[in-house]
C-alpha cells in the first residue's frame, strides 16, 4: 500500500520540524516586541544592532498599533508593548500591572499641502481648523481654497497626543481618517487644501511643515516644551521583566543609542529633555 509507505516519511518530516523549532533558539533569550508603528523603525534598528552585539539573543519586532502593544504586554503574550501614549490614558488597560520605560520623545507637527500659501498658524487657528470652525485657507491668510482635514484613525496614539494638546477636549471635525503616517504623507503631498499632522521622523523636505505661533517643531524646542505637541515613546514590560528583556531596554536607554540611533531616526533623546510629562499631561521642569 502506498499510504503505509508515506507514514514513516511524514513522521520523519514532522520530527525534523519539531527539532528545528525548539533546538536552536532558547526561549529565555528571545524578546518579542509588539505595538506602535511610529516606534517600529527605531526599535527594529536597535534590535538588529543589539543582536549583532549579543549573538545569543533574538529580538522580534512587530507593529500592530499602541492598543495592541499595551493589551498584549498586559496579558503577557509579548515581552514588550510599544505605545505612543501612557497606559493610564488607554481605556481597558490596567496600568498598575505594567512597568513604563520611556525610551524616546517624539514631536508631532501639523503639515499641509504646498499650495495653500500659509506657513505659520496661531494655536487658536490650528484649534479652529481641526474643530471645523475655520473652513477656508483665506481665513488664515492663505489662498481661497477649502481646507480638507485628514485625521488619524480613532484610537491612534499620535491622534490622541495631537488632540490632547491642540483641541483640549473639544470634538474634532468629522473628516477623513487614515491609519498610517505614510498614507497621510502621501495624501497631503498630492491633494491641494489638505492639512494633517505627522510625527517628526516622517517629515522631510517634500512636505510642508507648519510652525505654530512662530515656533518651529525642532528637537531643541521640544526639550524645553516650547514646542508643546510631543509625547513619550513608551516600552511597557511586565513588573518583573525577563533578563533578556531588561537587557534590551537598558541597551535602548544607553548613552550610545540615545545620542546616535535615536537622533538619527528623528526622535529626541530622553536624556536631553529639560522637562517631563506626567500621565495626566502636566509638563513639569526637570527630567
Amino acid at each position: 500500500m502506498r499510504l503505509s509507505k508515506l507514514i514513516p516519511v511524514g513522521l520523519a518530516a514532522a520530527g525534523i520540524l519539531l527539532l528545528s523549532g525548539c533546538g536552536t533558539k532558547n526561549k529565555e533569550n528571545a524578546v518579542t516586541v509588539v505595538g506602535s508603528t511610529a516606534m517600529q523603525p527605531l526599535v527594529q534598528k536597535a534590535g538588529s544592532d543589539f543582536q549583532a552585539e549579543h549573538k545569543n539573543y533574538t529580538i522580534t519586532v512587530q507593529g500592530g498599533g499602541s492598543g495592541t502593544g499595551l493589551s498584549q504586554a498586559e496579558t503577557g503574550a509579548v515581552n514588550v508593548g510599544n505605545s505612543d501614549i501612557f497606559a493610564e490614558q488607554k481605556d481597558g488597560i490596567h496600568a498598575n500591572k505594567l512597568k513604563d520605560h520611556q525610551v524616546a520623545v517624539v514631536g508631532i507637527a501639523p503639515v499641509a499641502n504646498e499650495e495653500n500659501g500659509v506657513k505659520n498658524l496661531t494655536e487658536q487657528q490650528l484649534e479652529k481648523i481641526f474643530t471645523g470652525k475655520i473652513k477656508n485657507w483665506k481665513e488664515v491668510g492663505g489662498k481661497d481654497l477649502p481646507i480638507i482635514v485628514i485625521n488619524r484613525a480613532q484610537g491612534s496614539g499620535t491622534r490622541k497626543t495631537f488632540e490632547t494638546k491642540v483641541l483640549k477636549g473639544q470634538q474634532p471635525v468629522k473628516s477623513q481618517e487614515q491609519d498610517s503616517n505614510g498614507t497621510v504623507k502621501k495624501i497631503v503631498q498630492n491633494t491641494p487644501g489638505t492639512i494633517s499632522y505627522l510625527s517628526l521622523p516622517y517629515l522631510n523636505k517634500q512636505i510642508k511643515t507648519l510652525s505654530v505661533d512662530g515656533v518651529e517643531p525642532t528637537a531643541a524646542n521640544i526639550t524645553t516644551n516650547k514646542w508643546e505637541i510631543w509625547s513619550y515613546e513608551h516600552m511597557y514590560t511586565s513588573k518583573h521583566p525577563s533578563k533578556a528583556t531588561q537587557a534590551f531596554v537598558n541597551y535602548l536607554m544607553s548613552k550610545p543609542v540615545q545620542s546616535k540611533l535615536v537622533k538619527e531616526a528623528g526622535y529626541v533623546s530622553v536624556h536631553d529633555m529639560k522637562v517631563h510629562m506626567t500621565p495626566d499631561n502636566r509638563v513639569l521642569p526637570g527630567q
Binding site: 498599533g65 487614515q178 491609519d179
Partner: protein
C-alpha cells in the same frame, strides 16, 4: 465448512477500507462544521456585547451615523451609529457590480460564443493575471492614479464611493467573468443548433437563447462578485477616505464596514466598547455574507435547467 462460513460472514478488506474512508471524511467534515459554528459564535458573542454589555440600542446602531465609540457624546452615551458604513458598503458594492457586469458578460460571450479559440487564448491569461494581483497593489494604483483623476474631473478630494467602486470593479471583474463563462458553457449545444436552424441570426441566438438560458448562472456570478466586493478591505480603505460620514455624493469621503475594521482594530483593547463596536460591524459583514450565500442558493434552485 465452519471456516468458510466464518470468512464469508466477516467484513471483507474492501468493506474495511470503505468504513475507514467514511470515518476520515466524516472527521474532516465535522471539523469544518465545528470551525464554521465556532467562528460564527465567536463573532456573534463579541458583536452582540455592544448591545448586551454596553447597552447600545440596536436601532441606534443601524440608523444613526455618529461614529465615536471611544468618546462620550452630548447625551452622555458613546456614539455608535454605523449607518454611514453600512450605506457606503452597499453603495460601493452595487456600483462596482453595475460597472463590472456588462464587461464581464461581453468578455464571456466573446470567449465562449464569438471567438472561442482565439478569445480564450487571448483573454484567459489576462483574467488570471487580474486575480493574482494582491489587493494592496490595486489600492495603491487607486490612490496614485484614480483618486487624482477623479479630483481633476469631478473636484473635491477624489476620495469616495466612486474611487472605491472603480477599484472594486477591476477586482471583481475576473470573478464575474469566469463564473459567467462557466454558465454559458453549460447551455446545451442543441439550443444553439435549434435556434440557428429556425433561421435566427447569431446575435439573436446569443441574445434571446443563450443569455436567457444562462441567466440564473450569470446572476449567481454577479452575486458572488458582490460578496467579494462587500468583503474587500485593504484596497477600498486606501481610496475611500475613511470618514464616518454618510456619503452625500459619489465623490464625498466615506467609510465602509471593512475599512473601518482594518483601520481601527489595532488601536482598540479587547473587551472595551470601541473594540466591541468593531465586532458589531464584523457581525453585520457576516450576516451580509450569509444573505449573499442564501441568494446564490435561491437563484440556483429557481433557474435549474430541466
Amino acid at each position: 465448512m465452519n471456516n468458510i462460513q466464518k470468512r464469508l460472514l466477516k467484513p471483507s478488506a474492501a468493506t474495511h477500507q470503505d468504513r475507514r474512508g467514511r470515518l476520515i471524511s466524516f472527521v474532516c467534515v465535522s471539523f469544518i462544521m465545528i470551525l464554521t459554528v465556532a467562528i460564527i459564535g465567536f463573532i456573534a458573542i463579541h458583536g452582540l456585547a455592544t448591545f448586551t454589555d454596553n447597552h447600545i440600542s440596536v436601532w441606534d446602531f443601524l440608523t444613526k451615523s455618529d461614529w465615536n465609540p471611544g468618546q462620550m457624546g452630548p447625551n452622555g452615551k458613546p456614539e455608535v451609529g454605523a449607518l454611514a458604513m453600512i450605506v457606503a458598503s452597499f453603495a460601493v458594492t452595487l456600483l462596482a457590480a453595475l460597472f463590472a457586469t456588462p464587461f464581464a458578460v461581453a468578455v464571456a460571450v466573446y470567449m465562449t460564443e464569438l471567438a472561442p479559440k482565439k478569445g480564450a487564448r487571448m483573454l484567459q491569461p489576462v483574467i488570471e493575471l487580474l486575480v493574482g494581483i494582491p489587493s494592496v497593489v490595486y489600492g495603491f494604483v487607486g490612490l496614485v492614479v484614480i483618486v487624482p483623476a477623479i479630483r481633476t474631473v469631478f473636484g473635491g478630494t477624489g476620495f469616495g464611493v466612486l474611487a472605491g467602486s472603480i477599484v472594486l470593479f477591476v477586482m471583481i471583474l475576473p470573478t464575474i467573468t469566469s463564473l459567467t463563462i462557466d454558465s454559458l458553457k453549460q447551455v446545451p449545444g442543441y439550443y444553439r443548433n435549434a435556434s440557428l436552424a429556425l433561421g435566427a441570426t447569431r446575435w439573436q441566438t446569443i441574445y434571446k437563447v443563450i443569455l436567457r438560458a444562462a441567466l440564473p448562472g450569470i446572476m449567481t456570478a454577479v452575486v458572488f462578485g458582490m460578496a467579494r466586493a462587500f468583503g474587500e478591505a485593504l484596497a477600498v480603505q486606501m481610496v475611500i477616505g475613511n470618514a464616518a460620514i454618510v456619503p452625500t455624493s459619489l465623490t464625498s469621503p466615506t467609510s465602509t464596514l471593512t475599512s473601518q475594521l482594518t483601520s481601527q482594530m489595532g488601536d482598540t483593547i479587547m473587551g472595551t466598547l470601541p473594540n466591541n463596536a468593531l465586532w458589531s460591524l464584523a457581525l453585520v459583514l457576516l450576516l451580509m455574507s450569509v444573505i449573499f450565500n442564501v441568494l446564490v442558493k435561491l437563484i440556483g434552485r429557481r433557474g435549474e435547467l430541466k
